[in-house]
């Protein structure tokens, strides 16, 4: 019971820390932008008098002392107010909310495909030639830019064979190629870690015990070693959910799909910093939610963790590539 309390407190503390850090970072993004925010916002071509600029500055609250601005920004966030887009003149939460659907669809489907591929590959291609082929395939996929994977899939399956539509969102089939593109690198990383975890587990003494009780290899993998391998893979998967957001920017561009990635790219090109800050906050929130879920799932998979205080962790350095 005490351990459970300490774990919960640790999780809550980490969550608050990350969100606060992201809010500060997002705020700093406004401050350290080279040049005057209002001139940047109006663009280099705009011929606007200083008086008008001062008016805009006052309207946005940019003329107040930095600390006051910081407090009011964080205060706004606590009330769920992400600010107003410079370019679109509407609340950032609305800009993001409108485009969240297609991206959510894309990333969730990609994650499911990735986990499915990783499981199949890690469980079935374990020895000999199959393993060598899969390991080489993983190296190639991880070394390819995700947008190039998308272009090759488009060239082969949309333009070449005509199995899938080229772009757009009109039919459900349009999401297949983008999701597969996004899923491939993720699945390669997960299956690497999953395979190593399963191999590692089967070298442990307990595997010998299970074998000596007469369990076959299938039973050993499914009942015992997969569970051990899954612990490491779970941490990695949580980390990779963040990379799906970054990947969505590229994949949505390749496949000309609407979504959060396009919104982010447009905001970056137009220097629409409130929207950029909103996206930073959203990814931090996703990160926190995913990590809370993982922290709660971990003890279910690995009973040894039930007595250890929780903290968000990044996967080991080697696992990032």
């Amino acid at each position: 019971m005490r351990h459970a309390l300490i774990r919960t407190a640790g999780i809550a503390a980490s969550a608050v820390l990350v969100l606060w850090g992201a809010a500060t970072l997002a705020f700093l993004a406004f401050r350290i932008i080279p040049g005057d925010a209002v001139s940047v916002m109006l663009g280099p071509q705009a011929k606007v008098s200083e008086a008008v600029k001062a008016g805009v500055r006052a309207e946005l609250g940019l003329d107040r002392p930095p600390l006051e601005q910081y407090v009011s920004y964080v205060g706004g966030l606590l009330r769920g107010d992400l600010g107003t887009s410079y370019q679109l003149r509407m609340p950032v939460s609305e800009v993001i909310g409108r485009q969240l659907g297609p991206t959510l669809q894309l990333t969730v489907l990609a994650l499911l495909i990735a986990i499915l591929i990783a499981l199949v590959v890690a469980l079935l291609a374990r020895r000999g030639l199959a393993r060598a082929v899969v390991v080489t395939g993983e190296l190639i996929v991880l070394s390819s830019p995700v947008f190039w994977i998308g272009i090759v899939l488009l060239a082969v399956f949309a333009f070449g064979l005509g199995w899938f539509p080229v772009a757009g969102t009109r039919s459900p089939a349009t999401v297949v190629l983008p999701a597969l593109t996004l899923a491939l690198p993720v699945s390669a990383l997960i299956s690497q870690v999953l395979r190593d975890g399963i191999d590692e587990a089967e070298r442990q003494p307990f595997a010998e015990t299970v074998r000596s009780r007469g369990a076959g290899p299938a039973r050993l993998v499914l009942r015992h070693s997969l569970r051990h391998g899954a612990a490491g893979a779970l941490t990695l998967t949580a980390y990779l959910i963040g990379s799906l957001l970054g990947g969505a920017v590229l994949v949505e561009t390749v496949f000309a799909r609407p979504g959060l990635g396009r919104v982010t790219l447009t905001a970056i090109v137009d220097r629409d910093l409130p929207v950029v800050a909103g996206v930073i906050m959203l990814s931090a929130a996703v990160f926190v939610v995913v990590n809370v879920v993982v922290e709660l799932l971990h003890p279910l998979i690995d009973p040894r963790l039930r007595v250890r205080p929780a903290a968000f962790e990044a996967p080991a350095i080697e696992e990032r590539r």
């Binding site: 350290i32 190296l139 830019p145 488009l154 963040g242 990379s243 910093l273 590539r321």
Partner: protein, 269 residues
Amino acid sequence: MIARRTALILAVMFLAAVALAALFPDALATHDPLRADVRSALEAPGAAHLFGTDQSGRDVFSRVVHGAGRSVGIGLLATLLAVAVGLVLGSLSGVAPRLLDSAAMRATDILLAFPEFLIALIVVAVLGPGPVNVAIAVTIAAVPVYIRLARTQTRTLRIAEHVEAARILGVGPVRTFTRHVAPAVLGSLSVLATIGIGSSILAAAGLSFLGLGPSEPAPEWGLMLSGGRNVLGRAWWISVFPGLAITLTVISATVIGRSLRARVEGRRA
């Protein structure tokens, strides 16, 4: 074992070719990478144009050759900068008072928890587009890994016997660091960097693909890929060859990095 050796030799040979293309593009290129010739637009790969031509009739092979310097250069530069910054910040953190050290490590932990590409994207969002800013963004995205490794190495080396001996012999702290600690830390960072170059090249290519890096008509692999996107149905070669160049470069760097790491770990074991 033989397969691994062959892969290593191929990787070294390919990277040598890329380096040659980056340093002396004119020695390999068959055409002027910038000269447009509308009469020969969208020609398929063949004897006249090895990798075909793009929409404005420019030779794709020559553009891939000329793009090597920029595409690999940004990734290489960013990695070198990241190693340098990581070495300084990481070893400082390794000898800093405990409170400062743990504050710095918490900050790197949080940065490490976010994917490199997302961080690079945010940095470009703040600094604005452009090739220099892309290099800075990729550096910042890559640096936490090196800070963390440099810190761990410094903390191990601080209490190593040869460093202890130097201190007892009266060597000053700065000299002890530059002569006895930094070279060893740099060694481990370089091994990691060989693998890291690949992800930095990928991140830089991604940013240029989005149009946030170098701009037309400069030959750059990521940019060329996005230029061919709209005519993919008619001319796959415009996008496919630059992408192949990126992939082969990154595979080669990874293969060499892994074999370096295996060698270092084997020596230690």
